[in-house]
Point group: C2
């Protein structure tokens, strides 16, 4: 594909267009992913998540500046509707971000998260791969950690940084939202606020009890991102985590598992999309669905019957791959 060749040659415009095709689930996605695959696998992916208002974007912003100062290139995927990266922030934040928009070593892409539930983690993962193949050294993925979808996106990350604030409620709340489980590094931002130290201690105590990461005890760091305080320590912690993952073979394991999940989830996703289509078009399936809707048949045993109907399954599968 010409567009892929241009992208691999370093054209940002080609990269942006390929990302759009991936987002729209263009029929050519399989070809795009196949052609870019041999060039991917070098980048390190950092996930940044946490509740709204924790200052994730400022952390990501300062981290980007620090990584750039080390001479590395950065790709940013912002799935956070409140992030200045994705355009949803106050004017001050946006002006601050312009330094990165003007830097050709930084490529920023925002993704809409509202309304697009299921497929988003897979699409985000594919975009990470494109940025990787494009040659970015570090990829930052930013999400608001309030839903399962947003947590699932973090699957793409090698190191997950969870940003919390003291007034964001107690540590138990963060645990319940699933944030502590996925954190490789915890950041208590706005650490000048009251209760920051105590909150950090609570988190440490909680992690002592609950963390099950092999060879790694997630550290709890204090930052004040807006004054750039603690960002260097955060980057050191990320580097340290990366080293542990590399030395213990966990990085390879994580990536193997990720590729496996990507394969199986794509199969499931395609089957699902096609099933929805078929309900509209296939007479036999349409009839079953109608009877179930009316309440004349029960959904569960009808589902099992559909799965045993070979002719229907053949029709279901025959159109997958042609078109999409």
């Amino acid at each position: 594909m010409e567009l892929v060749e241009k992208m691999l040659a370093g054209e940002q415009g080609a990269l942006a267009r390929l990302i759009t095709m991936v987002e729209r689930e263009d029929p050519e996605v399989a070809d795009i992913m196949k052609a870019t695959h041999p060039r991917a696998g070098r980048a390190y992916c950092i996930g940044v998540t946490g509740p709204p208002g924790a200052g994730k974007s400022t952390v990501a912003d300062k981290l980007t500046a620090l990584i750039r100062a080390k001479g590395l290139t950065v790709g940013i995927i912002a799935c956070d509707p409140t992030s200045p990266f994705s355009g949803g922030a106050v004017l001050g934040d946006r002006i601050r971000m312009q330094q990165h928009y003007l830097d050709s070593g930084v490529f920023i892409r925002s993704m809409a998260t509202r309304g697009s539930m299921g497929g988003l983690p897979k699409v985000a993962q594919r975009i990470v791969k494109l940025l990787d193949a494009f040659g970015k050294d570090v990829i930052l993925v930013e999400t608001v950690g309030v839903g399962q979808t947003e947590l699932d996106i973090m699957e793409a990350a090698d190191t997950v940084v969870v940003v919390l604030v003291p007034e964001g409620g107690d540590a138990v709340q963060a645990l319940k939202a699933g944030l502590l489980e996925i954190a490789d590094i915890l950041v208590v931002n706005k650490a000048d606020r009251e209760g920051a130290e105590r909150f950090a201690s609570e988190l440490v105590a909680m992690l002592d009890l609950s963390s099950e990461k092999p060879n790694w005890q997630p550290p709890v760091l204090l930052t004040q991102a807006h004054t750039n305080t603690g960002i260097d320590k955060l980057y050191e912690a990320i580097e340290k985590h990366k080293k542990v993952l590399q030395e213990t073979g966990q990085l390879l394991d994580r990536r193997r598992r990720r590729r496996r999940n990507e394969l199986l989830h794509t199969v499931e996703e395609k089957l699902k999309a096609r099933l929805e289509e078929l309900v509209e078009k296939d007479g036999m399936l349409g009839t079953v669905v109608e009877e179930v809707e009316k309440g004349d048949r029960d959904p569960y045993s009808s589902a099992m019957e559909i799965l045993k109907n070979k002719a229907l399954i053949n029709r279901w599968l025959s159109a997958i791959g042609e078109g999409n």
Copy 2:
């Protein structure tokens, strides 16, 4: 099935055993759902959700007492790990709950939510149907609204009650967690606390802007559940919502859509479970998965190839329905 007959004849023990079979995805689930189906469809299902600590369980507790006082029977499904219904609460709460445990007109079932991500909403929905077929007039489903799974469970409800507290953060936070979108009725509990009125006004303003429910503007009610204040008004609002749903035909529409989703999601769920199994057992699929894991092939185009492999698909489907 003998067990189904016993359950339909009113034996609580038989109901409990059938629920366990549904939870464990027993091979007989299809038969159970088919046999109980003709008796279901009478019950009204109320969902109660909200962040941890909002007092959902106390609201559900008082609501149960009020519904019982009207001579109606109640089935409770507690998917909330902090709920006294599910055993995860302080001693005082549990003692308070005992009145319901000793009342044969109330059937309480708790479900573990930790660790069982994907399938939970479907299993909860099936249990709602069993309680319905058993003859319960009202079914209360309680979850902690922090994840997509918990929100998905609310799909089973005819009326969704979202319980918030003034100090639970601002209205924007509730909106972001997806709670305002699913609420048919909003409850500001612990209304004696500071800021309750202001918080309620914020919610009203937010709902004016964002709510899109046809023929229904979700009301915001103030309660102090522990002193039983406002629970009667809550019940009135539920009744009013039910009446609107019935008169506008929306209740039928909701239930039709629910049955349709139940059918399609069950098909997807079974295909998925079987795919995971097949990866272990099928040589051809195992090889593809291995190559993808190693990074020799890209996941996306490999997924498309799997979907075009008819022989593999036949092996995939042939075992569904036998056994599970």
